[in-house]
Every structure is written in structure tokens, then in C-alpha cells.
């Protein structure tokens, strides 16, 4: 556990010492504040569009941080040769995978927390009310979803040599699932066999990341998701992340590393 936490600590240090997070946060903050400062038809009470834009930017920034940070972990270790002094210590490859996952996921969580605090301040300053539990639920679900994304990208990073190709493929897959994943069953029904079975199979196999996107519930002030459903979604994410990490370990443990 100590080793895993030590590895995670290095990843987190890397995140806040690189400039990516600050650039994304400043961009999000500037765009949100700019949009919030615009007066539409002399009505200062309009708030939902600001929430909508802010949450969209938060989602984009979080995905960029998650995929960008994770995609370069193992390849950068190999390219920079830092993997050798690391694995020369009593560290297993499984611990490296789990440590990197923990670091990237925790780093995403920290970044997300900052974004959501900013969102809460901006939204509350206009609406004059803070649905803290709803915001926390939205944060939690997004963070848990990022766990699946991080695990997926980590698997990609041991399969693909170049971080750029891994990042591109991961972005496409994640965006594809977010936009289309929930509708593949409809698409499947419109296809002839055997394509129908294949598409339906894919529909059941993919992790349904779209469940974790509760932006509409926040923006339009709907009731929160039930806590039991939240817990089940967390369990689903943990299972998927575990499966993907196991796959990453299976691939990584066999990879020869030549000094």
C-alpha cells in the first residue's frame, strides 16, 4: 500500500507542477466569467446558460486532464528511463499499474474539486442558493466515471507505444460512448442480423459512461439521483475500472523492458 501511495504521490506532484491544469482552469474560469458578464436583453437573473457552459467546460477539462495525464504515465517512464530505477526497487509491475491509476484518479479528483468549487461560487452568486448535495453528487459521479476513463487509458498506454495515439483513440472512444453509448440498443434494432447481435453485444460490453453525466439535473434543478442508484453506479465503475486495470497488468507484466 505504501508503494502504491508513494507512486500516486509522484503523479499528483507531476500534475500540479505541470502547467496543464492551471491553463485549463484559467480557460474555464475566463470563459465562464465572460459569458456570465454578458447581459442578455438587460436581464441579470438568467443563470442556466452560465451553469450549462461552465459544466460543459468542466467536463471537457476533466477529460483532457484525465486522458492527457494518464496517457503519458507509462510511456514517459519508459522513454525517460525512469521505469528502470523504479522497477529495480521491490516494486511489482502490478503495483506500478495500480499506483499510476491511483495517482491519476486522485489528481483528477483534486482538479475536479477545484472546478466544482468554482462552479458553486459562480452559480450560487447568481441563484443565491447552493444545492450542495446535488453538486457533490454530480462531482462524485463524474469522478467515479473518470476512474473508468483513467483505467481505460492506462490499458491503452501499455498497448500503444505513443502517448499521442493512445490519447487520440481514448478521446474518440470516450466521446463516442458518452454521445452514442446509451443509444446503441436503438441502433442495433434497426440493423439486420448478424450486425444487430454484434451492435447489441457492444452495447452490453461497453462501460456506460453516459450514466454519470448528470449535468441536466444540475442545470435544470431537477431532483438528485437516488443514493442507492449512485452507489450502484459507483460499484459498476469500480468493477469496470478493476477489469481494465487487470487487463493492463496482464499486458504490462509480460512486456520486456530493455535498458
Amino acid at each position: 500500500m505504501n508503494t502504491i501511495l508513494a507512486l500516486a504521490g509522484v503523479v499528483i506532484k507531476e500534475l500540479y507542477r505541470r502547467k496543464d491544469f492551471y491553463v485549463l482552469f484559467v480557460l474555464t474560469a475566463v470563459i465562464t466569467l465572460l459569458m456570465g458578464s454578458v447581459s442578455f436583453f438587460h436581464d441579470t437573473g438568467i443563470v442556466r446558460y452560465v451553469k450549462e457552459i461552465a459544466l460543459l467546460l468542466i467536463w471537457i477539462a476533466a477529460l483532457v486532464i484525465a486522458i492527457g495525464t494518464t496517457a503519458r504515465q507509462i510511456p514517459a517512464e519508459r522513454e525517460n528511463r525512469t521505469i528502470f530505477p523504479l522497477l529495480a526497487k521491490p516494486v511489482t509491475r502490478g503495483q506500478v499499474i495500480v499506483g499510476k491509476f491511483a495517482g491519476c484518479w486522485l489528481a483528477c479528483g483534486l482538479a475536479l474539486m477545484v472546478f466544482y468549487v468554482f462552479f458553486g461560487v459562480v452559480s450560487g452568486s447568481r441563484e443565491h442558493y447552493w444545492p450542495v448535495l446535488s453538486f457533490f453528487q454530480a462531482f462524485w459521479l463524474q469522478w467515479v466515471m473518470l476512474g473508468i476513463v483513467v483505467a481505460f487509458v492506462l490499458l491503452g498506454s501499455v498497448v500503444f507505444a505513443a502517448p499521442s495515439s493512445n490519447a487520440t483513440i481514448s478521446f474518440i472512444v470516450v466521446l463516442g460512448i458518452l454521445l452514442l453509448g446509451g443509444h446503441l440498443n436503438q441502433v442495433a434494432l434497426q440493423q439486420p442480423e448478424p450486425l444487430r447481435s454484434i451492435v447489441y453485444g457492444v452495447y452490453f460490453l461497453i462501460p456506460h459512461l453516459e450514466w454519470y453525466d448528470v449535468r441536466d439535473l444540475i442545470v435544470y434543478d431537477w431532483n438528485r439521483v437516488g443514493w442507492l442508484d449512485c452507489a450502484l453506479a459507483t460499484l459498476y465503475a469500480a468493477t469496470y475500472a478493476g477489469l481494465l486495470l487487470f487487463g493492463a497488468w496482464l499486458v504490462f507484466r509480460r512486456k520486456p523492458l530493455n535498458v
Binding site: 454578458v38 442578455f40 435544470y220
Partner: protein
Amino acid sequence: MKKHGPYLILILLLAACFSLATVLQQRASAWTKRAQSDNVLKVLFGDGRRFFADGFFRQADVSFHSGFYPTIFDQARASQDTRHLTAKEGEPAAEEHEKQFNFLGRPRDWIERFGRHFAVTSHTHLEGKKEREILPWLKMSAELDPQKIETYTVSAYWLRDLGKVKEAEEFLREGLRNNPDSYEILFELGRLYSENYHDPARARNVWELALRRWSEQEAAGKKPDLRELDRTAVYLSHLEEKEGNLARALELLQLAKKASPTPAALQPQIDELKQRLTKRAPSIAPKTP
């Protein structure tokens, strides 16, 4: 001299640039207008801005429904019509919309069933002054595509409803500047003068202009919307009737009847007007359009 040389050259160049700028300024403003580079959105997006404008208009509709909206996979089943945005409860457009927007259906599997716990699944419309939340999207849509007429008419409807009559008039006038031939915008402007400013003279002028624009477009073979002709003629007819110009009112109702999808609904009104005209001046025969 050697030490100051580069600085002197720099100053000379700056002076030359400044002089050139003052000379070219007037010519440049003509170029930019022709190249449409006076608007940063046109430069950035080109014609693709219309795609984004449609997206923002759709976002206004999503906002109107508080997030309950069909995806592209449901669009085939749900109607593309956006008349519900300005239709009151009980009107045919609103009732049609209620039927068409029932796109969810029963969940097909456990994934869909579970997923609905995290999504908006109730069909609601904004009300109680919350309709103002759709205005930013409409404004952004108009910025990106000033030729999208619907944006102006829907915005004006809701601005009037929210008590922002002056803003509605300004926005419609902006729409007219960008679309001088638009009978739809003229109709909305007329409604504003009639219902909000209670200025029948201005309303009449604007509605008559709308009818003229409609006729011009028909003559040019552009196939203008018959529903708009029907609507404008009916509203103008009611105005004329209120002002006591029954002959003109009758003329307009008969015009509306030709364009109406339900001409039989107008017949009783036409008959009533004819009766009233006959009572008032039986010798005056109505003009045929």
C-alpha cells in the same frame, strides 16, 4: 550612430506603418464589408456558423423543456416542428407537440432502465418567468445566423411575455435590418404594436407591409408560407373590425380563408361580417381581392 541605428530604423518603420494605416483605413472598411470580415464570427466559422446557430436554437428548445429532449435517434419519432415554443396550452400546435414528444417509451433493457435514473425523463415546459432562461441561446443563435427568422420571432414572443417589450421591439428591428423582406418579423412587430403598445395605426402599417412582402415573394416564385399569410390576414382583419373598417376586415378574412388549412373555421366569421356590413350599408358590395 551604430548603437542607435537599429532603434532609429524601428522608429522609422513604426512611423511608416502609422502613416499607411491612416491612408488605408477608409479603403479597408470597404474591403472588410465585402469580405464579410467585419464580423469575427463570420470570419471564424464561415458558413458553418449556421450549423452552430441551429445548435443554439435547439439548445433553447432543450432549455424550454428543462433538459427533456429527443436525441438524433429519437428525432425520427419526435416532430421537428418548433411552433410549440410560441403556442399556448390548448392550441393545436401545443396538443400536436404533446403527442409527438412522447418519444421515450418503455426501456428496452436493464441498462436503459437504470440509465433513466440519471437523466431527465419528464416532459415539462418552463413557466412562471423561467422562460427567460432560453433567451441567451436565442440571442447567440441570432448572432451566428442573423438570417434565421425564427430566432427573432420566438425571442420576441417570449420577451413580450416576460414584459420586456422595448427589448422585443429592438430585437425585431435588428431582425428586420438583417432580413428586410421578412413578413414573419413584420407580423411579430405588428403584434407588439397592437397588443403591447395598443397602437393600431402602426400595427396596421406593419401588417399591411407584411402582406405586401408576402405577395412580392409569391410573385417572385419563392413559395412563401401560407400559414403566415393566414395569420397576418386574420390579425389585421380583427384590427380593422375593431376600428370599424368592416369592409376591409371582410376582404382580409376572405384572403385568409384561401390560405387557411381550415377554411371552414373562418366561414362563420365571414358570414357574421357580411351580415354586419349588410345591416350597416346594404348597397356597399365588398371588394374582391
